[in-house]
């Protein structure tokens, strides 16, 4: 989304926000249903749950496919729109990065779905099916994930006139938007997504590759060090905040010094960069 805004594709960003909110809500609720049912969050302990909770499995697969950007589902349309906006306005390397990201997403969603819902039960978790209330929440979302892209036109209309008039969002019909989406870059992106799927399918044959990527699995287990980095960032920021408080000496002399330092900095900037203009 940030990528889209950055590339100036405001409408695409907003549209992806809409799609994203629908399928992510679906996935989170689905995952919540699963966790509620089996009482653990560890994916590796799950497996074969599809038999026990068929409805959850169905809607979860829909959400996952939308997330992976498989055609017809809403995630596909909006993601393509984002990528295209990026290709039109942003640098190429960023586009390539984003497309690879899409491929990776397809890969890990498949892995997740297969681990949780298909295959043999890994441990003896006695899951029970989701309650009625949960189902009632999930079904409309799944329906939304299937169809919300049809609203592309009205949505652009809404954005264009109601909430974001400053941004020059063009009001387009759904058909027009869909036509815009289906183009060669879309096919490339689809190909990459398909590659991601294939990689999962043929994971057995890609054993050599898996070995090469063993370290990746290991680091993934340790959250790629993100946990540690997260910790470091939070602590570091807090420490910087605490450390900077020393600059607020409360002494008038130093405060005036601040004014002078500001003056010197501005004068220096102007002399270095301003004289040429």
């Amino acid at each position: 989304m940030v990528y889209a805004v950055g590339a100036g594709a405001i409408y695409a960003a907003q549209f992806h926000l809409l799609s994203h909110s629908i399928f992510k809500a679906l996935l989170f609720l689905g995952a919540g249903a699963v966790i509620h049912s089996v009482g653990t969050r560890d994916m590796r302990l799950m497996g074969g749950l599809g038999k026990q909770m068929p409805l959850v499995r169905t809607v979860f697969v829909i959400g996952a496919l939308a997330l992976a950007g498989i055609p017809i589902l809403n995630g596909f349309w909006s993601k393509e729109l984002v990528l295209e906006g990026g290709l039109a306005n942003g640098p190429l390397w960023m586009y390539i990065l984003m497309v690879s990201g899409a491929g990776l997403t397809a890969f890990y969603t498949c892995r997740m779905v297969s681990m949780v819902f298909f295959g043999e039960p890994r441990t003896h978790l006695h899951g029970h099916d989701a309650g009625t209330a949960m189902k009632i929440a999930l079904i409309p979302l799944a329906f939304g994930a299937l169809t919300s892209w049809l609203l592309a036109g009205p949505f652009s209309h809404l954005l264009g006139e109601e909430s974001l008039p400053f941004h020059g969002v063009h009001t387009l019909t759904t058909l027009h938007i869909l036509e815009e989406i289906i183009s060669i870059p879309t096919l490339i992106a689809l190909l990459v997504v398909a590659l991601g799927l294939l990689a999962w399918w043929q994971r057995g044959r890609l054993g050599w590759m898996a070995k090469a990527f063993n370290w990746l699995g290991w680091s993934a287990e340790h959250s790629f060090g993100f946990e540690a980095i997260n910790h470091a960032i939070v602590n570091g920021t807090q420490a910087t905040g605490e450390g900077l408080r020393v600059t607020q000496t409360g002494q008038l002399n130093w405060n005036v010094m601040g004014i002078l330092i500001g003056l010197l900095a501005v004068l220096a900037t102007l002399i270095i960069f301003g004289l040429g203009a």
């Binding site: 002399n253 130093w254 010094m257 002078l260 002399i271």
Partner: protein, 164 residues
């Protein structure tokens, strides 16, 4: 020309003494001296009206105020070590003024054109009359501020402090 240079040097000398003087009252007197010499420079620049005002307000009124304030607060204790190292202050001031002089080089050689146009009365009372009106606002709010800060404190507050 040389006498102008001498006045300039004496003015700056007074200013330096005002900062260097150990006693506040002496400092205030040197400030009055600086003010008087600035008035003289203003006169030399061809601005006799503002020179008179500077002399009476800057050298007169403000000095009286300083003397009052110093009397009310008492003389300063012997000088302390400054909070900012003096060499650092020196360097910063030198660089700042140096840069400003360098940026002002085009103006240094400027010649002074003949005075033309409005009289002082016309300039102040007609052209800049909004500034005049605003001076009234300034004086009014200033007086309010002064009253607010220095008016007698209500006795009951002191009672509370005593009882507490």
């Amino acid at each position: 020309m040389w006498w102008q240079v001498i006045i300039a040097i004496v003015t700056l000398g007074c200013a330096v003494e005002a900062i260097r003087a150990k006693k506040l009252l002496v400092s205030a007197m040197w400030l009055a001296g600086t003010s008087a010499l600035v008035a003289l420079l203003l006169y030399i620049l061809g601005a006799p009206e503002i020179a008179v005002i500077e002399l009476s307000v800057g050298a007169g009124l403000v000095t009286v105020l300083f003397v009052f304030a110093i009397n009310l607060t008492g003389e300063a204790a012997p000088p302390f070590r400054s909070l900012i190292p003096k060499p650092l202050a020196w360097v910063v001031i030198a660089i700042t003024t140096g840069t400003l002089i360098w940026l002002n080089l085009p103006m240094l050689g400027a010649s002074l054109p003949d005075v033309q146009g409005l009289t002082f009365q016309a300039a102040f009372w007609e052209n800049r009359q909004v500034d005049g009106w605003l001076q009234i606002v300034l004086i009014f709010t200033g007086a309010l501020g002064l009253l607010g800060l220095l008016a007698d404190e209500k006795p009951h507050q002191d009672d509370e402090e005593v009882s507490a």
